[in-house]
């Protein structure tokens, strides 16, 4: 398989994943996307192994490593800031002990109701959103650093040949 075909197949895979995600939301079936993601990742590695031309070498590996380290160096600060903010809610009572659950499920106070299965789902949803936000942050940071180091190590250099 040619390199350009590989990129085309990956684009189609991403579109399929987005479609499954939309379907999962429509059907309220998280299992759909939870299965589709690992299958998609496995398909990615399978398709990548079929590329005949080298798409990875020591230079691209070095770019990846540098971008990963830079991403980690910035991300841990963002992660720490988010976590320490959450910890404040956890320790806002003496000895960190929370008051009993509030009678209303969707109370606007910072005290989250505990032990209420009906009310727990939206809070899990919010937790998922925070996680997705952090994941998006990692991806954006990584992409930015990767572009920076790729440019530094001649990824888009043009040559007369």
């Amino acid at each position: 398989m040619k390199r350009n075909t590989f990129y085309l197949v990956i684009g189609i895979l991403v579109l399929l994943e987005v479609g499954v995600f939309w379907l999962a939301i429509e059907q309220v079936e998280p299992l759909l996307i939870q299965i589709a993601i690992p299958v998609g990742v496995a398909a990615f590695y399978l398709v990548r192994s079929m590329v005949e031309e080298p798409i990875q070498d020591e230079r691209t590996n070095m770019i990846t490593q540098k971008a990963a380290v830079a991403t980690l160096a910035v991300f841990w600060v963002a992660f720490f800031v988010m976590s320490i903010g959450s910890v404040v809610y956890g320790f806002n009572e003496p000895l960190g002990i929370r008051p009993p659950p509030l009678p209303r499920v969707f109370d606007s106070s910072p005290h989250m109701p505990i032990g209420d299965a009906a009310g727990a789902i939206p809070y899990f949803g919010r937790f998922g959103m925070v996680q997705l936000f952090l994941l998006a942050l990692i991806i954006i940071l990584y992409a930015v650093f990767r572009l920076y180091y790729a440019r530094q190590y001649g990824e888009w250099e043009q040559d007369e040949e």
């Binding site: 190590y153 001649g154 250099e157």
Partner: protein, 65 residues
């Protein structure tokens, strides 16, 4: 680090793509080395020199930064 890969390529009439395929790297890596944007590992430097049938010093010259 200066190098004469382009000169040796011309002498052997080989393209960046062909050299890259023979060495198992991408064409961009050969281009980046030629332009001095990337310093290859010792392993790759030896492979390049060996491919042209010369010593590593004949292809690469160290320069004080």
């Amino acid at each position: 680090m200066k190098n004469k890969i382009k000169v040796y390529r011309a002498m052997h009439d080989i393209t960046q793509e062909a050299l890259a395929n023979k060495l198992g790297v991408t064409r961009q890596t050969i281009l980046a080395i030629e332009k001095g944007k990337y310093v290859p590992s010792l392993d790759l430097a030896f492979k390049i020199a060996r491919h042209f049938g010369v010593t590593i010093e004949e292809v690469f010259t160290y320069e004080e930064p």
